[in-house]
Amino acid sequence: MPPILQGLFTILVGVTGCVAYFWLSNLLLDRVICPPHGPHAGRNITRANLIRPWLFLFPALVVLGLYLAYPVVGSFVRSLHDRSGTEFIGLGNYADLIASGGFRVAVRNNILWLLVVPAAATAFGLLAAQLTDRLSWGNVAKSLIFMPMAISFVGASLIWRFVYDNSFDIGLINAVRGAFGAERAIDVIQIPFWNNFFIMFIMVWIQTGFAMVILSAALRGIPEETVEAAIMDGASPTQIFFRIKVPQIMGTIVVVWTTITFLVLKVFDIVYTMTGGNFGTHILPSYMMSFMFRDDGRATAVAFVIMILVLPVMIWNIRQARREMR
């Protein structure tokens, strides 16, 4: 069977399967197990209401448990074993990682990414949101800045190869340098250390639209009166922006910042496509992929390091969610 038919078949089976499960299980509960009539109507209804949520939740819980909760444990256990997976070596993989120079470079780069990308994307997004607000063609501008969001990291990397390439006729940067009289084209992707920032900018380019859209909505949500009051008080546009508007959307800024932070910790595609991790550009996700299929023990150890990096924000997130529910 060709894959495309297999795909259609899967949709059919998956959708009817899901619908049938939900419908039949509810029917079974209402008609057979706890019918809401007869001598025990009241008790049966109460009982059905205890069971029903779990019918609704069951498939999702299975999927979540198997595909997200189990791997956290599974990865940790695997990371305590050697390459073949048979011999328990304790924290050996982690010790090897710490001793290796490549890992240290990846950690350093990752910290740079975590510092630079969310900050830059949020700042650009805030700037774009503020500038396009109330502009007659603001929506068109926003749409274009938002567009990279739809482009894959691989596609985006290719797009930026056209900017970074080391010839005067392909790379925009070199073309501009040439126009100012540079003699030799340079390969910005190979400049030690600074090449990281060129690669990071691709991520900034993708994420700015996301930040802009959300911050723009937050800016619109600011009560107009507070701005008008500030105008009456004689504040300049800059003062209004930094002292009236930004403090009021601080909560949203934090949300945007953390969301991009999480994304940065997942994305290996850009580094993989731009340099494959050469020239000192590895970050942890790409470093992990360099071990994938070769040394699962080492790969899971790197993955677990990423998990540890995420952990504090994850706990903060959960706390925040629980507070909101009260």
Partner: protein, 383 residues
Amino acid sequence: MHSIAGRKSGLQWAVHLSVVALVLLWLIPTLGLLVSSVRDRDQIAETGWWLAPLPVEMTFRIRAAPDDARASGDGFVIAGNVLDDPAQARWFPDGAGTVTAFGTRGAAPTEHAPGDTAELRTGGTLSVARDGAFTITAPDALTRPVSIFFEARVPPRVTLDNYATVLTSDGMDRAFLNTLTVAVPATVIPILIAAFAAYALAWMDFRGRGVLIAAVVGLLVVPLQLALVPLLNLHNAVGIGQSFLGIWLAHTGFGMPLAIYLLRNYMVGLPRDIIESARVDGATDFQIFTRIILPLSFPALAAFAIFQFLWVWNDLLVAKVFLPSGSDAQVMTVKIADDLIGSRGGDWGILAAAAFVSIAVPLVVFFTLQRYLVRGLLAGSVK
């Protein structure tokens, strides 16, 4: 605020200009890709894409065959027009064109100005006129072809050749279908499962609901990397292995927390009165879900569908791990990153066309459904 008195128009201009600059910075790289993808590969090598609408000065080489020589005076002469040569006829449709320089050696193809007469190394002379007419004179009979190098101004050529090449000989057509095959079920199935769970978490009262919601929020940020090795081992152990079924399941799992989170956030914001009213009207939970909640949650469902579709379509990591590595099952991102960049590294037209094939569908989805995407983003992040 447009009506506030005494505003400076200069400031307004500055705003306009900064936005223009910002938009250009965001648009130009993509534009470069699009333009490059429809240029001729030889022209790409000659000038930057930003010069694409301008004629390109390109260097050509033709060979004047000795058979065409005829005796003239005390030697031999070959006459003809360099622009008529079949090797580059595509550049000069009616033999029209302008020669800007010519030469006799590959090392210096533009040594002489048109109309000049150049000495041939083998003895004899070559001259090429501005309209392409050339004359070779030789003292003795010619035995080997004479190479003529010339440079001519060529009008820009817009072509879909790159796309044709990518789609036929490079196998992007197969990769496109594979991507589609992965993306559609991996978008539809999680929505269905998540919608039911989200309803339970939003509108049903039961012990442990708070803990489950917190767990979903927590799982939202579990790094994908953590799941790769254990799940691949699991898939291998149960016989799914690296396959389409495996990647559908994986994407369903990885998309689930966001789906539940987004949909629950939206559903919990629906008016309580409406749901209670339906209950008073006699609807069961299942009926409330299918007849009230689902239709009303359409914006959130659409938003998540777009998210998940874009995410799956654009994914490289999960496809690399959960699909077999042969070209039969390669999706477009893998094809480009692992295959084309290696084998076609310097062929910018091909790379651009491939990239554009892969981003075309997301761009269409993005621009037609942007409204829902924005709404979904807001529902997920701003409270």
